[in-house]
Amino acid sequence: MKLRLFFLGLVAALALASTAQAGTLDNVRKNGFLRCGVSEGQPGFSNPDQRGNWTGIDVDYCRAVAVAIFNDPNKVRFVPVSFAERFTALQAGQFDILSHNTTWTMDRDVAQGLEFIGVDFYDGQGFMVRKSLGVNSALKLDGATLCTQTGTTSELNAADFFRAHKLKYKILVYQKASEYIAAYDAGRCDAATTDRSGLAGDRLKLKNPADHILLPETISKEPLGPAVRHGDQQWGDLCRWTLFALVNAEELGVNSRNVDAQLNSTSPEIRRLLGKEGAFGQELGLANDWAYRIVKRLGNYGEIYERGVGLNTPLKLPRGLNNLWNKGGIMYAPPIR
């Protein structure tokens, strides 16, 4: 398995040399489909159902890019990849976009050859414990054993939090989500720790989800978003503005039900978004109505959010920070103009 990773590393180094010139968009067009690296199963973000259909925010974002390019949400191949292997696999060219609950950090952006294109979910790390433990704050976890997954920022944040508060802890790191959840469920550790959205999804996998609670503390900032390989500006722009189009559509009140009617809108902002004015799509190398297509087929950011993790899903995550900036959240996209 690690040999696989090593092989990936070598391929990455070689692939970089050859793909540096050829544009990712050209390659995607030539293949006829987009390849999207996603997590191996994270409810609400990228999760295959019994029939093998992928659902979730991370998945829908990739579908949006596919619609922008091909006008077809099904022209995506999802490549499940572990937390530990995801960056190397992106470098090795195993997929065109990494959409994988990935925290945007400086080191990843600057030193690991990644290009983060924005934030599609504002998250923060939390703790989950058994109710029977009688703990109501992370500050009472002195001496606790934590379980988490390898290849995440969670290991570092937990260390920072416990050091900052001079609390003792032990951390057990498992390779897969299933293993870390099994160990927590068996009582090997006192608390499970990862991003709060991840904990909400992981709780559903426990034997008795109702016996567990999330502690109130959020100990880190986890801006999650898609990333592409560093160095392909055109591809980065296309992916970035696909995300911004989703957010702008929600802010302008354009959704999958009213988008056809909105084509006749007199609002210049809506007209620019839907390709009625300007040549914004063409400048990205796409059809001018790229954003219309996206909203028509997949809806705006709010619709994708509600479908993935919203109050009518098992995760029941309130919008919170992920609400639009003018509705009490911090979700904000630069204007199309």
């Binding site: 080191d107 030193a111 001496g143 995440t152 937990a158 390779q175 009582g187």
Partner: protein, 391 residues
């Protein structure tokens, strides 16, 4: 008898041709290697991927659950690598000893005259060899050890042994200042006794008369340390496992990750070792067994003095390769959260730094070094025990 040498130009000599071809191949491989390295370095820098080994000195910032050498979150990635390596060595060394013990018992058992024992041993070997090791690791950890009660409902024998799903806790000896004198006394006592024993052996071999030295054993091995203990006023203390906060503290703790991995590796590898031992015993000529019987040696003695020493020559080489596999298999640790070299270094450190090529090269170099050392040790043993004139 010297062969008449064909008279033709040296470049048509097959020996020279062979050497030239090999040299060419070597140059070609080196060239491809250099080209790959050059490409990789260029590509990495164009994509702003950090490269080089400077990261080994950077602060790690993460915690590790089993730390046997000094390490804190402020330590470097390089130090984290050593922690992982030590953990790999611990689980490998313990598993090598256990699997050898179990393997010999089962291997000998398969050749037992007792039908039930022989069949049980056969079932052991056939079952365990045919179940993937990862499955066994997961089974022992999640299926067995994690079904033990939690810390607050631990199975406990007073405070002597506490068993729960976190691990096994036993009292730990704390060495106070002055304890070195006791340890020294014990070492000196043992050394003197063994010297005495060797002297007695040599004397017996030479003269046939064996001096009585049994009285020296308690005096040297017990008396001397006891004296030191008295002089230093017992510089030891016991640390007892105690329920504190979420779990047990104090005492010596064997984490259930270490226990699960050790059990799985030992039991699995033992099945292969059993077959090697069986093959070794079967390879000893039947006459040797009959000769041992003719001498009136009982089965146990015959095994110990006649059969196993001869079988060892067949057993050692494949045994060495089992030890190598076991060490490499210990990297399955990552599935159950045991912080071995692969989990800590090729897992967490790789992910924090993203330097896949450097880290995986280093990891492979370390495993290669471990393999070479193991092979070398086993070869040394083999040479020391090879048949004279045949080695």
């Amino acid at each position: 008898m010297a062969r008449p040498r064909a008279r033709h130009a040296w470049w048509r000599d097959t020996r020279w041709q062979g050497i030239a071809l090999q040299a060419l191949a070597l140059v070609a491989i080196a060239a491809v290697g250099l080209w790959l390295a050059h490409n990789a370095i260029g590509a990495l820098s164009r994509r702003h991927v950090a490269s080089g080994f400077a990261f080994l000195g950077h602060t790690a910032g993460f915690g590790i659950s089993q730390v046997l050498i000094p390490y804190t979150e402020e330590s470097s990635y390089g130090q984290a690598m050593w922690v992982g390596l030590v953990n790999t060595l611990v689980v490998s060394a313990v598993s090598i000893v256990l699997s050898t013990l179990i393997g010999f018992v089962v291997g000998i058992g398969r050749l037992s005259g007792n039908w039930l024992v022989a069949k049980l041993c056969t079932v052991y070997v056939e079952t365990l060899r045919n179940i993937p090791l990862l499955l066994q690791v997961v089974f022992w950890y999640f299926g067995v050890l994690q079904t033990l009660p939690g810390p607050r409902d631990s199975l406990a024998l007073g405070s002597w042994i506490v068993l729960n799903n976190r691990g096994v806790y036993v009292p730990e000896v704390i060495f106070a200042p002055g304890s070195w004198l006791v340890v020294l006394a014990l070492a000196v006592g043992l050394a003197v006794f063994f010297a005495l024993y060797g002297w007695a052996q040599r004397l017996q071999r030479k003269t046939g008369r064996r001096p009585t030295i049994w009285w020296a054993a308690p005096l040297l091995v017990i008396g001397l340390p006891a004296l030191a203990l008295f002089v230093e006023r017992v510089p030891f203390a016991l640390s007892w496992p105690q329920l504190a906060g979420f779990s047990y503290e104090g005492g010596l703790q064997i984490n259930s990750e270490l226990a699960g991995l050790t059990i799985a590796l030992s039991i699995y590898t033992a099945a292969y070792i059993a077959e090697i031992v069986r093959a070794g015993l079967v390879s000893v000529a039947r006459g040797q067994r009959e000769a041992a019987e003719a001498l009136g040696l009982r089965r146990g003695l015959a095994l110990r003095l006649v059969l196993i020493p001869q079988a060892m020559r067949v057993i050692i080489p494949p045994l060495a390769s089992e030890y190598l596999s076991l060490t490499k298999n210990s990297s399955l640790a990552i599935a159950i959260g045991y912080p071995d070299l692969v989990a800590v270094f090729a897992g967490t450190v790789l992910n924090q730094t993203g330097q896949a090529i450097e880290i995986l090269s280093l990891t492979m170099a370390i495993y290669l070094a471990l393999s070479l050392v193991t092979s070398a040790l086993m070869n040394l043993y083999n040479r020391a025990h090879a048949l004279e004139g045949l080695g």
